[in-house]
Structure formats: C-alpha cells, structure tokens
Amino acid sequence: MYPRPVPETAHASRRLYMTLVGAILIVWLAPLFAVILTSFRSMADVMSGNLWGWPTEIAVVENYTAVFTQTPMARYFLNSLVITIPSVVGVLILSTLAGFVLARYRFPGNMLIFALFVGGNFLPHQIMMIPVRDLMVRLNLYDTTTALIIFHVAFQTGFATLFMRNFIAALPDELFQAARAEGATPFQTLIHVVVPLVRPALAALAILLFTFIWNDYFWAVVLTVSDDVKPVTAGLANLRGEWVSAWNLISAGTIIVAVPPVVMFFLMQKHFIAGLTMGAVKG
C-alpha cells in the first residue's frame, strides 16, 4: 500500500492524522457548509446583513417551504425527474444493444463506429447547439421535456456504448462459445448471457448518467423556455434573477438542486466509483 499506512498500534499518530485530514476536509467543504447554514437563516438576518454570525433564529422550515410554495421549484424538480429518468433508461437500453454488437461481432467498420461514438462524446456541445435547436423547432418539440430526453439519450449513448462495449468485451469468451454451440441466436445470447452479467455495469452506468443528465444546464437553457418544462438547473439560474438578495432562499434552492445526485451518490457509492474508474483501471 502506498503511502505507507500509519501503524495500527500508533493510536496517537492515528488520531493526529485524522485530525489533520478532518481540518483539510472542513476547508474543502467550507463553501458548501456556508450555503447550508445560510439556507437555515431567516429573512430578517439576511436583510440586516447577518450572513455569517450566529443566526438569531433557525428558519429552515420557513425557507424550504417558501422555495416550494412561492417559487416554481417544485415544478422544476418534477421536470428534472421527468427528463432524467426516461433518459437514463433509454441510454441503458440503446448502449447495451450497441455495446454488445461492437464487443462481440467483427465486421468492417466496427472500429470506425466505435471511434465515432467515443469521439462524438468529446465534442463541444456548442457545435451541435444551433442544428439541434433547429431540429427540435421543426419537430415541434422545442420547449418540451421530450426534446431534452431525445438529446440526452442521443448524446449519452456515445459514452455509454464505450462503457458497455468495454465491459462486455471483458466477459469470458467461453460463455459466448457455449451459447453458440447450443445454437443460441444473437438475440437469445443477448438476453440470456449478456443481460444477467452486465447488471453491475448497468448500475454503475445508471448512477453516472443520472448525475450527468440531472446536472445538465446548457441544453436546459438552449431547449426550454417555460416553467412547465425547465429542469432544476435552469430553474435555479432563473430563481437567482428574481430573488437577488434573498440569499437564504437561493441557498435553499441550491441545496435542493444538489441533493438528488448527492443522495444517489451516497446510496450507490461503490457503483459510482466503479463506473467512473472502470476505463482508468482497466488499463
């Protein structure tokens, strides 16, 4: 192990080490703590400029209630779910199919298709902005959640296919040979051999995709305008325009935007990290 472990017997050094790490952690997360604290502050404190002193009263319930009842944040939150969940499901299906084919079938152009998926995934979003926006207008989908779902599914399929292809390629060959020997069709192989084995990969991918899509801001701004469609990220930016100095409410709104990915992360931490590092560690 590197660096050399602090010996288990050296209790004092262990405690000292943890104190040091804890101190660094507090500095690291200071901006976040500040926002959380502010979201507890009452309007009176904010108005009188008491942003860093001890709060004169805890207004956590009032602030979060206000965000949900006096701003369209609840609606934005729902929109985000309506956009994110179908997108994730869509990407998982398409990328499993495409990844399976790219991993298990040799055909001319296999590498080219793979390279296009990978390369397209790195494109700057702005290069597609105008045509995608135009496409959605022509399909009469501009300013609908469907437009965002279509875009996210299309774009994330690039990354997800790379991911699934690598995972399926690493599955033992014998399984596929056995399936072929038994006369299984490609579709049967997919359903009975691949799908049961890629579940961990799907879990890892799902949490990653959830985070990516939930956190998207650019396409939310480009493809939506009305409150009935806007996801939380664009909604938060809107909120800031309206509630300029109401720091406590903006902070509460920020926390609401941040919570779902953080919760997902803590629930599925193993999968998340496995997903992120799969490419890196595979070598």
């Binding site: 495409a98 902005m129 890196a280």
Partner: protein, 294 residues
C-alpha cells in the same frame, strides 16, 4: 420469409440491435455537428433566409477582439485546470489510509464531483460577493478589504476557474484513489527494500504504475476545461464586458442574444477544431491500446 430471416439473421440481428443507438447518435450528434460547419459559412439570424458568405464569418472572427479574449481565457482554463490531477493525487494520497472513519471522509471529499456546476457557480458567486461573501469575511479578519473578484477583468477568469477546479480536483482524486488501490504490492515492497521512500518512491515506483490513470485524468481535465460554459454563464455571463468569456460562451451569446447564428457556428467550429486535435490524440491512443489488446 422465415427462411430468409434464418439465413440472414446472423448479420441482421446485430445490425438491428446497433441501429437505434447508431442512428440516433448519427442524426442528433454527428449530423448536427457537420451542419454547424455548414452554417458557419452563412450569414443567418436564425429565422430568415441563410445567405452564403463563404469564409466571411471567419475573417470577421480574426478581427474580433472579443475572440482573442475568449481564446486567451480558454488557454487560462486549460493551463490552470492542469492543477487538478496533481492536487487530486495529493488528496488521494492523503486519504489512502485504513483508519476508522476514513471511508466517510473519502466520500465527503467526493461531494463536489456530483454537485451540478450551476450549484457550484451559485455557491462561489456568493463566496466572492463583495462585502458579504466568505472571501470578504476572511479578508476582513486580516483587516483588509477583499477585491471584487468577479468584476475585475484581470482576476475574474481565475476566480471562476478556482470554483470549477473544486469539482475537477474531486474527479481526479476519485480516479487516483482507484489507481492507488490497484498498485502492485510487490513493486512497492521491492522499492521499500531498496530504500526508496517518499518522493523517490512516488516518482519512480508509484507514478509509472499510474500512467493509465494519469492519461484518463488529463483527458477528462482537458475536456472539462474546453467545455467550460455553465460556471461562466452562472457567475458572470462573460462579464465584466466580455472579459471572462470563453469560446463556448461567446458562441452562445452571439447566437442567442445577438441572433447571429452563422457567426456563432463559426466560433463553435473553431472550438471544435481545437477539440478535434485533442480527440485525435485520445482516439489514436485508445485504438492503439485496443489493437494491442486484440
């Protein structure tokens, strides 16, 4: 019909399976990108007729001072973002210990990674706010007045990059932690026997084993730097007077606020070319690795 299907299904099924993903990706992502290159050769306000002007937009770009400001800021982003892999590695080394409570500490360090960049932008806008912000508070503790970073044309980009680094460092740290878990105990042990310690150990024994991780970390950092848009949009909208804009934001501003879709597409195309250099480098490495593996 059935026999036709039977005879051809060995290639028909795979084709049908890959088709939905490939078509969607090709139409929405790849075709759109190519179409942007085409639009960049026109004068177009987004809803009137498109007027062919050849390289006119690019010629104008060459004379546009804002373009150079954006380009310069893109370079600042790229250079400063390169701090993310080493700092990420440092934190990873710090927390790579099996002590009670360390697991939770690690998770806490990861948090900025999953935060929406919009949220990070809001958080840091506030940190930088003159008079009320966290930074102002710290400065006041030392009896000084904090500069209004976000309205200073010289500091503004650096201030935004620092905010963006927060999550990028967390990203690199995750990658390195996974890498550290896969180190060869034998090599480390052998190094210890040879008396390698601290920096020497890191430099000659650990880092060589982390090459692949470093490659990925640099790749995601480059992409992250060139993609910077959200934070700028949220924190300054390119201001004051365009001094914190980058190509991605300038493109958005020209298209959406000035209704200059052709010019916007030209800016996006330049960004695309810069990115293409990187993508080519990345792809050749990946494909070479694939071929070696296969």
């Amino acid at each position: 019909m059935t026999s036709l299907w039977r005879r051809h299904r060995w290639w028909l099924t795979p084709t049908l399976l890959i088709l939905p993903g490939a078509v969607l990706f090709a139409v929405v992502i790849l075709a759109s990108s190519v179409q942007s290159l085409w639009i960049s050769l026109h004068d177009w306000d987004g809803f009137g007729p498109m007027v062919w002007i050849g390289l006119g937009n690019y010629r104008e770009l060459m004379d546009d001072p804002q373009f150079y400001v954006s380009l310069k800021n893109n370079v600042i982003w790229l250079v400063m973002f390169m701090l993310a892999p080493p700092i990420g590695l440092a934190i990873a080394l710090l927390v790579n210990q099996k002590i009670k409570g360390m697991r939770l500490v690690k998770s806490m360090f990861f948090i900025p990674l999953v935060l929406a960049s919009v949220a990070v932008g809001v958080v840091f806008t506030w940190v930088y706010t003159p008079e009320f912000g966290l930074l102002a508070l710290i400065f006041r503790a030392f009896g000084a007045n904090a500069p209004a970073l976000l309205s200073d044309e010289h500091f503004v980009t650096f201030a935004i990059v620092v905010a963006a680094l927060w999550s990028q460092i967390a990203f690199c740290m995750v990658l390195y932690l996974a890498g550290l878990n896969n180190l060869s105990e034998e090599l480390i042990g052998a190094g210890r026997v040879d008396g390698a310690r601290g920096w020497n150990m890191l430099r000659h024994i650990v880092l060589p084993q982390l090459t692949q991780v470093t490659f990925i970390a640099i790749a995601v950092t480059v992409v992250g730097a060139l993609r910077s848009f959200d934070m700028i949009s949220v924190m300054t909208r390119g201001g004051p007077f365009g001094s914190s804009s980058v190509l991605a934001y300038q493109m958005f501003e020209q298209s959406i606020f000035s209704y200059r879709f052709g010019y916007g597409a030209a800016i996006a195309s330049v960004l695309f070319v810069i990115m293409a250099v990187f993508i080519t480098w990345y792809l050749t490495r990946i494909i070479r690795a694939e071929e070696r593996g296969a």
